[in-house]
């Protein structure tokens, strides 16, 4: 749980540690490649290499869901296993959730953590088995489905999942809705200092267009990573964020370069602190973070948060079960437990991200459920789009555009 | 006498230099004559190197005046002094060729390249080291490096050349050769040399004058011969050459002569005038003593003794004797003949040691001269 601390920019290594962890995982959100401290030391990169090299896997391309157990109800009637192994982002679930699951099901839980979707993918591709539950973001789900690494969920074992809002069941990255249950979600929006920025931008395009003007006045910020910068620009131009059309990508590139001089920083991990201290006058942000910035600037009241009118990014983290899960029944029971509205309420109070279960949302405290920055209205999310990694070519093209943008 | 200072290249006026609580140089006065070869001689820690470094400008005196070429040098940095130094370990620039080393000083003076080369060539010729211009110092032997260091300083044609134990790192044979060489060069160029050494033989053989230093003061400043023959203090007497000491009560003193009773029938009769003291000390050089077999009479300047050891020093035979009063004497004799008389003596033999009246030197233990000219 993160409350705002006005002294956020005062160095206190021990205290900020969980905060840093949290920031990192926020940063990873859309499958991005920002660094962690471990990576800063070259460890993760090495691990990645080692995993790739030692695994020696020549998994050439997505081979379709061959290994996913598509047979009807193979789990029906099976007894619940006594173990559950969760591979998760750190500090992403309320401790009471584990406790209640253990007492209800008599299952011993073992949890290990990762800090990026890439780490998760690398681990699974290198033959990492033994996990019952994983929590990939939307683009990673798409890749894992392609690779056939996910188990088709047995909905009969997850009765509570029927409460999940229908728009979050069949999603672009899981069109059949068979491989995941959405854990929580968020959107990318923007904010500005209303004492300086006098125009009242309402769309992402307007936001971008104001950058060259205000980049000279104060600090402006974009979310970093190729997978944020390029698709968001594509959306602002009215294109599909996941497009592979070279002409559209080229237009996005030129658009980005045209506003480059107005961008002071490209950063997803520190902007909360800086914006809370009033240092960013125009910037993008994820709704959970912007909520905290607004509350930090309550006294000054100088920050206006905008959920873009037309379109923007939405993202989701998802409960999935690897095809190789040793304890599939317990895994299903876990997902079912998390979809229990009572549990979902405590979870949301813990991590401050909405879970698309109306019954649970209704029970959240008023300051949460009435806050559009938390409970983002479906009128917005319905138009928002998931940023995915449709193909390696598109990802490469985005990375190249991003490099050009950065070095410009 | 400041009006005469111009006759002196370097002048110390009551200079004191301290390092923390240690007094390295204690109120030293010294005048170095133009064109002379002056040695500062003494054991390590006597203040000779500190004195040299003050002339060079690496150290500044705490008290007193320092004049170089008649003008005040206190506070003037080394690079603005008309003196140059030959360092003990040569201090050649390892990253430069021999020629560049020798040219270095001229380059600082902005002498033209052509002139630099010509002068460096002359200097290298002077020290007899030619044909190695492009070598690096590390490729030369110790003696050759020494020559380069000398050339590097001489090429500057300084008012005074300071040499800080320049031959210390060379072996004996080479050292002897270089001593002759240095003297030759000094005669040739006529520059004032101030030479620091702890090797008395080196100092005596090359110098016009020698300043013997001890504990930060000059004990005696004189020509090599005077220093050897008439040491003013026991320290000088002992430090320069070998000296046998006897101590005793003045038995008689008159007419420029005296007699001292050193006990057990050892009586020394000599020339001079013991200055009032009841107990005095005399020194006798080993080469001034003659040893004869047998029990001589216990008269003045003739003492009975026992031979303790015998050594061959090549050109000399050396005996260590114990006199009747217990004093130990060193005696040497040149092996001018195939079997000198001294050679017949063996350890354990009884003998008589004799010397003439001119041999005993009265040790005044005077305070060193304050105005050492």
């Amino acid at each position: 749980m993160i409350e705002h601390d006005p002294k956020l920019n005062v160095l206190a290594p021990i205290e900020i540690r969980p905060r840093l962890d949290r920031l990192e995982r926020l940063v990873r959100r859309s499958g991005g490649g920002r660094m962690t401290r471990a990576e800063a030391l070259g460890l993760a990169g090495l691990a990645l290499l080692a995993a790739a090299g030692c695994g020696g896997k020549t998994s050439t391309g997505g081979g379709g869901g061959a290994s996913s157990s598509g047979a009807a109800d193979p789990l029906a009637g099976k007894p619940i296993e006594s173990n559950l192994v969760i591979y998760n982002w750190s500090q992403y679930d309320d401790p009471s959730t584990y406790k209640s699951f253990k007492t209800q099901n008599h299952v011993a839980i073992k949890e290990t953590y990762y800090s990026s979707n890439d780490e998760l993918l690398a681990k699974l591709q290198a033959g990492g088995t033994g996990y019952d539950i994983i929590v990939p973001s939307q683009n990673a789900v798409g890749e894992l489905v392609q690779l056939g690494s996910l188990m088709k969920l047995d909905k009969a074992l997850i009765p509570n999942a029927s409460a999940v809002e229908s728009s979050w069941v069949k999603t672009a990255y899981d069109p059949t809705g068979d491989y995941k249950v959405v854990k929580d979600f968020g959107v990318t929006m923007f904010f500005y200092n209303n004492t300086i920025v006098t125009e009242k931008p309402t769309t992402m395009k307007q936001f971008y267009d104001l950058l060259p003007k205000y980049g000279r006045v104060g600090r402006t910020n974009l979310m970093d990573g190729a997978e944020e910068v390029v698709p968001l620009a594509l959306m602002a131009l009215g294109y599909d964020p996941n497009t592979g059309d070279p002409a559209e990508l080229d237009k996005a590139k030129n658009f980005l370069l045209s506003i480059r001089s107005g961008v002071t920083t490209i950063d997803s991990s520190n902007y909360i602190n800086d914006a809370s201290a009033g240092k960013i006058i125009l910037g993008q942000g994820w709704n959970g973070d912007v909520r905290r910035i607004i509350s930090a600037r309550k006294k000054q009241g100088d920050i206006t948060a905008v959920l873009p009118q037309d379109t923007s990014e939405k993202w989701a983290d998802n409960w999935c079960i690897p095809a190789t899960a040793p304890d599939p029944v317990a895994a299903h029971a876990w997902i079912n437990h998390l979809c229990d509205p009572a549990v979902a309420v405590t979870e949301m109070e813990y991590h401050n991200y909405p879970i698309p279960i109306q019954a649970a949302l209704d029970q959240t405290p008023a300051e949460l459920k009435n806050d559009p920055l938390f409970n983002v209205p479906t009128s917005y999310t319905d138009h928002y789009k998931f940023i995915l990694n449709p193909s390696q070519e598109i990802v490469n093209a985005r990375t190249q555009i991003y490099t050009a943008f950065q070095s410009a | 006498m400041s009006d005469q200072s111009i006759d002196y290249d370097v002048e110390f006026r009551a200079i004191t230099k301290r390092f923390g609580s240690l007094v390295a140089v204690n109120g030293v006065s010294l005048k170095v004559r133009k064109g002379e070869f002056l040695s500062l001689l003494g054991p390590s820690g006597c203040g000779k190197t500190t004195s040299l470094r003050m002339i060079a400008g690496f150290e500044q005196p705490d008290e007193g005046e320092l004049l170089i070429g008649g003008s005040d040098a206190v506070g003037i940095p080394p690079y603005r002094r008309d003196v140059n130094t030959v360092f003990q370990q040569y201090a050649l620039f390892p990253h430069m060729s021999i020629l560049d080393n020798v040219c270095y000083g001229l380059k600082q003076r902005k002498v033209s390249r052509r002139e630099r080369r010509a002068k460096a060539g002359e200097a290298l010729e002077l020290v007899q080291l030619t044909g190695r211009d492009s070598h690096r110092p590390a490729m030369l032997s110790g003696g050759q490096q020494q020559r380069v260091a000398l050339a590097r300083a001489l090429v500057m044609n300084p008012r005074v050349l300071l040499l800080d134990e320049p031959l210390g790192a060379l072996d004996l044979k080479l050292r002897k050769e270089m001593q002759i060489e240095l003297k030759r060069i000094q005669d040739q160029v006529g520059i004032t040399f101030i030479y620091v050494t702890h090797d008395q033989e080196e100092a005596l053989s090359m110098s016009d004058r020698v300043a013997v230093m001890s504990n930060g003061v000059i004990e005696q400043l004189d020509t090599p011969r005077a220093i050897y023959d008439h040491p003013l203090t026991a320290f000088v007497a002992d430090f320069i050459g070998d000296m046998n000491f006897l101590e005793g009560r003045v038995a008689e003193s008159a007419d420029g002569g005296y007699a001292i009773d050193a006990g057990e029938g050892v009586v020394v009769r000599g020339r001079g005038h013991p200055a009032g003291a009841a107990i005095v000390r005399v020194g006798i050089r080993p080469e001034r003593i003659v040893v004869e077999r047998g029990n001589g009479s216990g008269t003045a300047n003739s003492a009975r003794c026992e031979v303790l050891t015998k050594m061959y020093l090549g050109d000399q035979v050396q005996l260590i004797l114990r006199l009747a009063n217990g004093s130990e004497f060193v005696v040497r004799e040149q092996r001018t003949s195939a079997a000198p008389a001294i050679d017949s003596l063996e350890p354990g033999d009884t003998a008589t040691a004799r010397w003439d009246e001119a041999a005993p030197l009265l040790m005044a233990d005077l305070q060193p001269q304050k105005d050492g000219e």
């Binding site: 920019n9 160095l11 290594p13 840093l20 499958g31 490649g33 920002r34 660094m35 990576e39 800063a40 990169g45 990645l48 290499l49 790739a52 090299g53 020549t58 998994s59 050439t60 391309g61 997505g62 993918l121 890749e143 392609q146 600090r219 970093d224 990573g225 190729a226 997978e227 002071t264 950063d267 201290a277 390696q392 985005r398 991003y402 490099t403 950065q406 070095s407 | 060079a56 690496f58 940095p77 080394p78 603005r80 003196v83 130094t85 360092f87 370990q89 201090a91 620039f93 390892p94 990253h95 270095y104 003076r109 080291l129 690096r136 590390a138 020559r147 500057m156 080479l174 050769e177 270089m178």
Partner: protein, 297 residues
């Protein structure tokens, strides 16, 4: 004495027979470790760099120079150049700060030398990231340093954070010990009599430093400069934190290709190409190192 002048330089022959000799195979464990954990990843990089992509995070092992050809693009040449320039700036700043510190430690400290050395290394004992965050606070335009600088009137607006200056400061700060240590070592080996000799011959202190001290400590300085320059080129945390993500270092681009795009072949090719480029600097360094041996210092 003329005979002495033509003697060849003396060299003491090496007397191996008196030194204990240990059998060479004793190094086998170290060599095996080295091969697996140092050369191994390098070999994997080389294999990746000539492979092609085949879907997410997988490669097909072929021999293809397409990755290297893709590198020959104005974009990446610009990234290389930008990186080298920033690293060169950082190295210059590191030298400007580190050399005087090393000089001071070597020449002016006697009793506290070891303590000073320790203090130089102490920052290495805390997390690199935390230190960089701390630097961010110091460089903050609303921080104390900014107030101080604006108060003194040195600059009316202290706006360093998220600029190339901040990156250079961060680079210099984080790599300073790597420069100080070799420079300090070379200064410790320096014979200060040579500087005395130079001033004795009429060189001012500045000239003596430039003509004697600097050339003689240059090998140490070059070692230090390379020790900082090379990792600076691969840096990607500092440009992100202190440059506000505005600077595309080679390390950043390799990182985003490896982690973001999972384009291992391209990331590897870039890494290899950059390694080759840096090797040129190492060759220069080795040339210097052999020159140092010639001095016999």
């Amino acid at each position: 004495m003329t005979s002495e002048t033509i003697q060849p330089p003396k060299r003491s022959p090496r007397r191996r027979s008196f030194a204990p000799r240990y059998p060479g195979w004793l190094t086998a464990p170290s060599l095996i470790y080295y091969m697996i954990f140092f050369l191994g990843p390098l070999a994997i990089l080389v294999v990746f760099s000539v492979a092609t992509q085949a879907g997410f995070g997988s490669v097909s092992y072929t021999f293809s120079t397409s990755q290297f050809k893709a590198l020959n693009d104005p974009l990446y040449i610009k990234v290389f150049r930008q990186t080298m320039l920033m690293a060169a700036g950082g190295t210059a700043l590191t030298i400007a700060i580190g050399y005087p510190v090393a000089y001071w430690m070597s020449r002016y400290l006697t009793r506290y030398k070891t303590l000073a050395l320790l203090l130089v290394i102490v920052p290495f004992w805390t997390s690199f990231l935390i230190r960089t965050y701390a630097l961010k606070i110091i460089l903050d335009p609303q921080g104390y340093l900014a107030h101080f600088v604006e108060w003194t009137g040195i600059s009316s607006q202290f706006n360093v954070l998220y600029t190339g200056k901040a990156v250079a400061i961060g680079l210099a700060y984080n790599y300073l010990p790597l420069l100080i240590l070799p420079v300090y070592a070379s200064l410790e080996r320096m014979d200060w009599k040579l500087v005395e000799a130079a001033t004795d011959l009429g060189a001012s202190p500045f000239k003596a430093f430039r003509q004697i001290t600097l050339p003689l400590t240059l090998p140490g300085l070059i070692t230090g400069a390379l020790l900082v320059f090379i990792p600076m080129c691969g840096e990607y945390v500092i440009p992100q934190l202190l440059g506000g993500g505005q600077f595309a270092f080679v390390g950043t681009v390799i990182g985003s290709n490896f982690l973001g795009a999972q384009n291992w072949p391209f990331g590897s090719a870039m890494a290899i190409a950059f390694m080759v480029l840096l090797s040129i600097f190492v060759v220069i360094y080795i040339a210097f190192a052999t020159r140092e041996e010639q001095f016999g210092a």
